[in-house]
């Protein structure tokens, strides 16, 4: 199957290895991965900052980057997928190609589990065998795209770690893009609740599907000197557990 990788700007600029692992996984599952060079960003940062005009220009470039391509558009970042699938209808709904492109956008786990029908793709935790991990549900997968269950399905097939339950796992970690900069103390308190609950549950790592949440939680854990590894789900889906 031909698949278009939507790498997202944050992965491009800060987490290129997440993009590479996404490609490796998709190719291992038999997909032919293409990467349209015209892509930059979905426009969400500007929209959530109250600048829809700026967001619209970038969203249009997103639509144009993918309009002439074929197959599902897959991203390792649920929030950007939610923006494209839900937000673009309001923002660039009048663009003739927008609806067609939006309907093709899929998050990595949702694509693998629901479209490819692969519920177990293996994988090994990239750390000590038997590591207890906490799962952080990405808000925009859980409540937006609706594929949080698919991500957990893939997690269940990973060896070398086990999931420890944490209370109120549905709560936001406090990243929220612009929110993290504009309301930093509340944002940090929200991260602390996540981190403290993970530590109390005995977890040695937090795993999620949102590079924004990861950057926020890892940055906060480092600031507080909390010894918790932070991983994207796709880090755990590498067959050999090596990063």
């Amino acid at each position: 199957m031909r698949v278009q990788l939507f790498v997202t700007c944050l992965v491009d600029l800060a987490y290129p290895e997440i993009g590479e692992r996404t490609v490796a996984l998709l190719e291992r599952l038999g997909c032919t991965v293409e990467f349209p060079a015209g892509q930059t960003c979905c426009g969400q940062p500007a929209l959530n900052s109250g600048h829809p005009h700026a967001a619209r220009r970038v969203a249009e470039s997103f639509v144009e980057a993918f309009a002439g391509t074929e197959g599902p558009i897959v991203a390792p970042f649920g929030s950007c997928v939610h923006m494209a699938r839900h937000g673009h209808a309001r923002l660039v709904g009048d663009h003739p190609e927008a609806a067609g492109v939006a309907a093709r956008v899929r998050d990595l786990a949702g694509f693998v589990v629901e479209d490819l029908g692969r519920t177990d793709v293996g994988g090994r935790y990239p750390g000590p065998d038997g590591t207890p991990i906490a799962w952080h549900d990405e808000c925009h997968l859980l409540r937006g795209v609706g594929t949080a269950a698919a991500a957990r399905t893939l997690l269940a097939g990973v060896e070398g770690c086990h999931l420890v339950p944490t209370a109120r796992g549905d709560l936001c970690c406090g990243f929220g893009g612009t929110f993290a900069l504009k309301v930093p103390k509340v944002s940090a308190a929200m991260a602390d609740e996540k981190l403290d609950r993970a530590v109390e549950a005995g977890a040695r790592a937090i795993v999620s599907t949102d590079p924004g949440c990861l950057m926020h939680m890892e940055g906060r854990a480092r600031r507080r000197g909390i010894d918790l590894a932070v991983h994207h789900l796709v880090d755990l889906l590498e067959p050999n557990g090596t990063l």
């Binding site: 808000c139 936001c172 900069l181």
Partner: protein, 469 residues
């Protein structure tokens, strides 16, 4: 002065109240699980949404019908376009009849209007009769939750208040005795009151009926003991008919507490009939105060709100900051939407839409389908248009120019890694290059977290090198 806005939002957690809030929010979350076991939640929410959408769409017609039916039933309708008119109407009704001791039923609209201050100014003593609201009133405090006004207070604080007020000693653990004291004090007020002033949860146009739901029975007493009952009702509370009202009367407690029935549900259609006990006069003050201006806008569905409080308990920001942080009568996600919307973005209300991480928990919790996170995004744009920061606007315009041109974006990305990595290191980036202090607007990030360095080579460049296309 309207009671709607008190101060700019406080963007800080309040560790003194978070344990209490987390417990209350946890109870609510458990109740929501029960609600979903009780009914087909999605179906119930969709039906409630349809009922509210219809009511707001047909509001002028329903208001006229409500007034006609209530007038036929012997009640009197007053119209208030503004908060000032609403306060004046209530004071006038009291003054004309020489009413001086008001029994208040908990009403968010009353908070919004700043009604108690207006009554006090007119020499009318107003006693809040909802236990939480009464405690808040005694402390000279403000309610911090739509349904649970005193949720920010501990039992210890209440015991201290009652001890000071009575000269007796109360133990925080002895809730029975605390409630007993409140009941006795409130009973004395009930017997002395000469006018009941309440809000209403719904107003049913079909029959001109007010619907009041509550836990404590104080509303029933405040609307049946005095000879005059005044209800202040936002115009958005209208419902078309009893078919819809029956659903909403179950939906409200279900969303709020996970139960299909409130402890007390009172249906009031005009004054007491011949020979019945109850008020001789029922006055309904229908308050607009910015509401009708929202009809036909992107935010119209904010008028669906039935004030169940679910979005507050669901919100991860509210649970850190508490209701007072919002600086307004309405708090939580719905407060961050309707306060600026009703105030026409008047400063400082434009700051409220940022009191959200846009996680969508509010929208998920809402029993009447209000897309609260979408509304918050819409209001951020309204706020930026109204009194946005010029430097910020310039930044986003430059960002859009660069990021809407893929070649420029790629050149920027390739340079950023090369330039920023050494800068990150020079600025003291520690292990792995994480930075502890960043300048300018990025300091909002590094005040609380370390900053990850940008990749030396972005994905775009890596792909090109590896795949040559």
């Amino acid at each position: 002065v309207s009671g709607r806005v008190v101060h700019p939002p406080r963007r800080e957690p309040d560790p003194a109240i978070t344990p209490t809030l987390h417990r209350a929010a946890g109870n609510w979350a458990a109740n929501r699980v029960r609600a979903k076991e009780t009914v087909d939640w999605d179906e119930w929410r969709d039906r409630a949404t349809a009922i509210r959408t219809d009511a707001i769409a047909e509001l002028p017609e329903l208001l006229a019908r409500f007034e006609a039916r209530l007038t036929e039933a012997g009640g009197t309708v007053h119209h208030a376009a503004t908060a000032e008119e609403a306060r004046a109407a209530v004071v006038r009704i009291c003054a004309e009849r020489g009413l001086r001791r008001a029994l208040k039923g908990k009403s968010m609209l009353s908070e919004e209007l700043g009604l108690n201050a207006a009554l006090a100014e007119a020499g009318i003593e107003a006693v809040e009769t909802d236990l939480g609201e009464w405690i808040v009133q005694l402390l000279g405090d403000r309610p911090s939750h739509i349904l649970a006004p005193a949720v920010h207070l501990s039992a210890e604080q209440v015991a201290a208040l009652f001890s000071e007020r009575s000269g007796e000693t109360f133990d925080a653990a002895d809730t029975g005795r605390l409630v007993g004291y409140a009941r006795k004090a409130l009973r004395e007020s009930f017997l002395a009151g000469d006018v009941g002033i309440t809000g209403a949860n719904f107003a049913v146009a079909e029959t001109g009926t007010l619907v009041l739901v509550e836990s404590e029975g104080n509303l029933r007493m405040a609307t049946s003991l005095p000879l005059v009952h005044i209800a202040v009702v936002g115009i958005e509370k209208l419902l078309r008919d009893w078919d819809g009202a029956a659903h909403m009367i179950e939906m409200l407690p279900l969303a709020a507490h996970g139960r299909r029935s409130a402890t007390y549900t009172s249906l009031i259609t005009g004054p007491a009939r011949d020979g019945d006990d109850g008020p001789e006069e029922v006055h309904v003050v229908l308050v607009d105060d910015g509401r009708s201006a929202l009809r036909g806008t992107e935010l119209e569905s904010a008028l669906h709100c039935i004030r169940c409080g679910a979005c507050l308990y669901a919100c991860p920001v509210y649970r850190q900051v508490g209701g007072h942080a919002y600086g307004a009568a309405y708090s939580g996600p719905i407060g961050a939407v309707i306060t600026p919307a009703l105030e026409g973005m008047k400063p400082p209300t434009g700051e409220l839409p940022w009191m959200s991480s846009l996680c969508g928990a509010c929208t998920e919790a809402c029993p009447v389908g209000i897309p609260l996170d979408d509304h918050l995004v819409t209001l951020r744009a309204w706020a930026q248009r109204h009194d946005g920061d010029a430097a910020e606007r310039t930044f986003w315009e430059a960002w859009a120019r660069l990021w809407s041109r893929p070649a420029s974006y790629r050149a920027m990305a390739a340079t950023a890694g090369r330039v920023l990595q050494p800068l990150w290191r020079a600025a003291g980036g520690g292990a792995g290059g994480w930075l502890r202090r960043a300048p300018g607007p990025l300091s909002g990030w590094t005040d609380e977290r370390d900053a990850r360095p940008p990749a030396a080579e972005p994905f775009h460049a890596r792909w090109k090198h590896a795949r040559g296309r």
